[in-house]
Symmetry: C2
Subunit: 272 residues, 2 copies
C-alpha cells in the first residue's frame, strides 16, 4: 500500500521532521519506492515537489527535508504502484482548480470498477490511476451539485464525505483532500492523527535516528495536527481513525467529524 | 520586465545550462527578483519548481541547476512584479488541465483593462495577476470554441495566435504556452530562439562563467530549440522574433509560424 501524510497548522509550520521519517519508507524502511510527492500551501498558492523515483534516494526529497517551507496545509504521498505505471503523471498528490482555489488530493488504496461506477465528463484524468480518476469524479460531482456557487464548509465536506463513502464501496479509499483552508481525511482502512499543542515535548521518529523538541521549535499558541497512514513517532499517542470515519481540520484543529457506513476490509483488499 | 525561457527537444534533454544563466538574472545580473518558476514535462506528466524568492539566491533554483531533469518541453519564468503582489499564487508558470493534458503558460508583459475586455466564466484565477487572468481567458475561449473536442494542431494554434493578437491589443503580451507536445511562442515586443543540431559546438553563457561543449553532451540526432526573452549566450546566433510573430515548436523543430497584426510598442509600455 501507499502511505499518506498531511498537516494542518494555525501558523506557517514546516513539515521537515515528519517528512524525514516518511521519506525513509520510500525504498529504505518501507517498500513505497514508486514515487512520491508533497504539496505545500502558502496563502492561496501551492507548490508541489514530485519525483517518480524512491523518496529515500531522491535529491528533491533531500531538499524538502533540509529547506523548511512554512505552510498551514501540506499533503504528501509515497507510492507503491498498483493501478497505473510508475511515471510522473501517476504520482500523487494531484492538484486542480475549483472555485478559484487550488484543490489537492492524495489517495491510499485501490478501486475496482471505477470506470463504470464513477463516470466523469468535465474533469479528465491525465494519468492512468484509479486515484486520479476518483479525484476527477469528485470534482465533477462538486460541479454538478453546486455549479459556480461554492457551498458553506459544512455542506461542502458533508457532501465530500458522502462521495467518499460511495467511492469506498469500490475497494479501499483512504483520502486526504484540501483546498488550502480546510483539510479533510477519510479513513477506509488505516489513518492516524495527532494534534500537538502546548505544553510541547519531545518526539522520536520511528524510521530515522531523529528526535525533535517541539518546545524549542514552537510558540505557546501553535497548534499543529499531523495525519498519517501509520504513526511516525513511537513516543507520542496517535489517534486511530475508525473505518468509515472522516475528520475535517482547519488551522491545526479538528473542527468536524462524522461516521459513514463502511464495511471492514480484509487485508487482502488493501494492496495498493 | 520579466524574462521567459522555454525549450523543445526531440529527446529528453536537461536545461541546466540555460537555466544556470537565466537564474542569475533573478537578483544578480538582472532585476527579476520577485520569484521564479520552471515546469518540466516528462511524458504526459509535468512538475514545477517555484519560489517567490529571487532565483539567484534560491536553494530550489540551485537544485534545478544541479539535478538534470530530462524533458522534451520546459517553460520557465523569472518575475519582476508589476500586476499582483509577490506571492506563490502569482508566480509563473501556471498549469491547468484541458482535454486530458497539462497546459502550462508563462507571460512577459503587462495588460490594461483585461477584466472588462477578457471576461471569464469557467476557468477562474487563483492569484491576482493580469497574466493568470489572460491564461484563464484563453482556456475559456478554447472551451467555448471547441468544447470537449480537441481540434487538430493546426486549427488549435491558429486559434491561440488569434487570441494572442487580441490580448496583445491590451498592452504587452509575450507568451509561451505548451500542452507538452507542442510549444507555442508569441512575440509582442521581445523574444529570441535558437535551434541547436549537429554539428554541435561550444557556447558561453552571458550571465555566468560557464561554457558548454554541446558536442560532448549530445548525439548527432538531437535537435533542441531554446526560446528566451533575451539571448543567453554571446557566441551563437539567436533569431529575433518580429512584433506580432508566432512560432510553433514540436520535438525541437519549428513546425509552423505566422504573423499577426500588432503595433510596435514603445519601451514605456513594457514595464513588467
Amino acid at each position: 500500500m501507499c502511505e499518506l501524510l498531511a498537516m494542518s497548522a494555525n501558523v506557517p509550520t514546516d513539515i521537515c521532521f515528519s517528512f524525514s521519517g516518511l521519506m525513509q519508507r520510500g525504498g529504505n524502511t518501507g517498500p513505497h519506492k514508486d514515487g512520491w510527492g508533497i504539496t505545500f500551501y502558502e496563502g492561496k498558492g501551492c507548490r508541489s515537489f514530485k519525483d517518480p523515483l524512491p523518496s529515500a534516494h531522491s535529491p528533491i526529497a533531500k531538499l524538502v527535508t533540509e529547506y523548511p517551507i512554512k505552510s498551514e496545509a501540506v499533503i504528501c504521498h509515497i507510492r507503491q504502484a498498483n493501478s497505473g505505471g510508475i511515471c510522473l503523471e501517476n504520482t500523487h498528490p494531484f492538484t486542480r482548480q475549483m472555485w478559484g482555489k487550488n484543490w489537492t488530493y492524495a489517495h491510499n488504496g485501490q478501486l475496482k470498477g471505477y470506470a463504470n461506477e464513477l463516470p466523469i465528463k468535465f474533469h479528465l484524468p491525465i494519468g492512468t490511476t484509479d486515484s486520479e480518476h476518483a479525484f476527477c469524479w469528485i470534482l465533477d460531482q462538486l460541479h454538478i451539485q453546486f455549479a459556480e456557487n461554492e457551498p458553506t464548509t459544512k455542506v461542502l465536506y458533508q457532501f465530500i464525505a458522502s462521495l467518499s463513502e460511495k467511492i469506498n464501496k469500490l475497494g479501499v479509499f483512504n483520502l486526504i483532500i484540501s483546498n488550502g483552508e480546510n483539510l479533510f481525511a477519510y479513513c477506509s482502512t488505516k489513518l492516524h492523527w495527532i494534534t500537538r499543542r502546548a505544553p510541547f515535548g519531545e518526539a522520536s521518529l520511528i524510521d530515522a535516528e531523529m528526535v525533535v523538541d517541539f518546545h524549542k521549535e514552537t510558540t505557546a499558541n501553535d497548534i499543529v495536527t499531523v495525519i498519517a497512514t501509520q504513526p511516525l513517532t513511537d513516543d507520542e499517542t496517535w489517534q486511530k481513525m475508525s473505518v468509515g470515519q472522516w475528520q475535517l481540520f482547519c488551522l491545526g484543529e479538528s473542527i468536524a467529524s462524522g461516521q459513514t457506513e463502511a464495511e471492514i476490509k480484509t487485508p487482502a483488499n488493501n494492496t495498493n
